[in-house]
Symmetry: C2
Subunit: 351 residues, 2 copies
């Protein structure tokens, strides 16, 4: 689910300045925001869509459920730590979980390129099935289309997830408040750098593995601990920088990050330096950002750290009042710099 706030849109270049779709339109940055605002929201806008959370909230009969959809085009199809199948399950389940909802089912729709080895498809589907089983969420409906050689890149898959809202836990991107604290559940930058290394055939001293994982257990522990969580977010495409910018814009707050507190693994840091990338903008697929009131920090950290996926949970910053819709990085030397949305793509086809 693309998540761009109204404020995010105002700083975007109008899509009418470009005549054709560019890779940057899929980046999760300013160009994406422009495309979404100028083309999609203009035509399709409605109250549920306009919120642009990780999923939409829908009332039907006596039930309030959430729905989130994502198409996956990651290249290569298989990478250290996962593949397009497990990623498609984790990605959509995580979007549902970030709304505090309990996922009840997934759908999966495949676009296959003629000539794709059946063995590759079998591995991807088996991985998808294992991920869904582990999460305890069935894939209840599917679809398969085949296109000619040169009209896809092996395979693409869409997953859509449906969850039931939970009265105990209703975080939202617009609910961060001055005085809140920003927690991340684990290391930054692993997924994006694992994909880059696999795609470019880069070898580092240690293999970077994707963090792709289902975040349902972490959200369940937060709920069980009774944390009053204001905002949850999995910082995927565009990384933590883009996710926090969207939250800052939606909530009308500033978010300050402490550079020294950011948990960037050494191999990710080295790879980023070699490639000239900033780990704050690199995609993650198995960590969450939790924004909670200051008095809930200890409980939240304890809840996250009680599960292996959250063993590296740390405080990385805080929410302040002004300047609104801004993310600021406090460097180790005491300086500050603005962490803006990127215009286009740092890493295309990362998910």
């Amino acid at each position: 689910m693309t998540t761009i706030t109204a404020s995010g849109l105002t700083c975007a270049l109008p899509v009418t300045q470009t005549e054709r779709v560019q890779l940057g339109h899929g980046s999760g940055g300013k160009m994406s925001a422009s495309l979404i605002g100028d083309v999609f929201l203009r035509e399709l806008g409605n109250p549920a869509l306009n919120v642009m959370g990780d999923g939409a909230i829908v009332e039907a009969g006596a039930t309030e459920f959430v729905v989130s959809t994502d198409s996956f085009v990651v290249s290569p199809l298989e990478f250290p730590g996962g593949d397009i199948g497990s990623l498609a399950v984790h990605g959509t389940l995580n979007d549902v979980a970030m709304m505090g909802a309990r996922a009840v089912c997934l759908t999966a729709a495949f676009i296959l390129e003629e000539g794709l080895p059946i063995a590759t498809l079998e591995r991807v589907v088996a991985s998808m099935a294992a991920a869904a089983r582990q999460a305890g969420v069935p894939i209840v409906a599917g679809d398969t289309k085949v296109v000619e050689r040169g009209k896809a890149d092996g395979l693409y898959v869409n997953t859509t997830g449906i969850g039931l809202r939970d009265a105990r836990c209703r975080p939202g991107p617009a609910d961060a408040r001055a005085g809140d604290v920003v927690i991340v559940s684990g290391a930054l930058g692993r997924h994006g750098m694992a994909i880059m290394a696999a795609r470019e055939g880069l070898a580092f001293e240690t293999t970077i593995t994707s963090d792709s994982a289902c975040l349902i257990p972490l959200v369940e522990r937060i709920k069980t601990a009774g944390v009053r969580v204001h905002t949850l977010r999995d910082p995927t495409r565009g990384g933590a920088a883009s996710a926090l910018n969207e939250i800052a814009a939606a909530s009308g707050v500033a978010i300050e990050l402490d550079e020294d507190a950011l948990p960037v693994p050494e191999n990710v840091r080295a790879a980023c330096e070699m490639l000239g990338l900033d780990p704050l903008y690199v995609a993650n697929e198995g960590i969450l950002l939790a924004i909670v009131p200051a008095e809930e920090v200890d409980t939240t950290l304890a809840a996250l750290r009680s599960h292996p996926l959250g063993s590296g949970a740390v405080v990385i910053g805080r929410v302040t009042g002004k300047p609104a819709a801004t993310v600021i990085l406090r460097t180790g030397l005491g300086g500050t710099r603005i962490v803006d949305l990127l215009p286009g793509d740092q890493l295309p086809r990362i998910c």
Copy 2:
């Protein structure tokens, strides 16, 4: 939603006899059945998925809802009578409607090829929005990905629909019974032949327009009339022949069609003859098959004909007991022939 019954699977070639994905695997015929059975169901199978109806039935809390997903890869993107945007809305809403459910929302996820003219995208999204508005069903969540030139064919779109089950109307592919009557709501073969003509640049005496339409109004009229409908089905990919084969297999019945009763427009018939195609296998996107008890025929026809979309509704055949899982065509000369599932593709990328 791909709809292949268990019986349909047994007659399919094992996918292991092919090493790579072929276009026929997306046909809706025997090769599709083989791929679905050997790869997808083997790994992903669960009670909801195994039913393989037009959508899945999911119970969540106090609510019973249906969900259906479809990716659309139609080529060309725009054709007489519609485009990939309106088709994606109609196709998924119709799958939900065929389960007797009331659609409450749709999601839309786009895969865009770098270089796609923004103007084309704008037309497609506007058409999608108009179709959703006309149906009264909002698009509540979306996603956009961009892939490099040569990795898609302009654009692909996935729509997933969620509906609430209706206690009054719960048709299913396994509910056809001997003695029932088969009704079609309108002309056969328009969508597929419109696509073929547009793709191949064929000019006939009159332009063939796709029948792409939202079938919700027809289902509502059937419900309002109080018809006890056993099976509803929109005969899309693979046409009426494939849809009826799947129903015959799921219900364990034979279905007899009267060739002289099949409503094939003259321009569709002429185009099919020229191209060596059988209109029974050509895709439709704006008609439904209704299988009802004999005593409900008059009420059903009156209900369908009360709406412009169903003005051409006619009886085309009947359900008999044996041979099970078989569709038989009674020709004008009194002969009969078996109408089998095709192995592979008559018309690729029709939806």
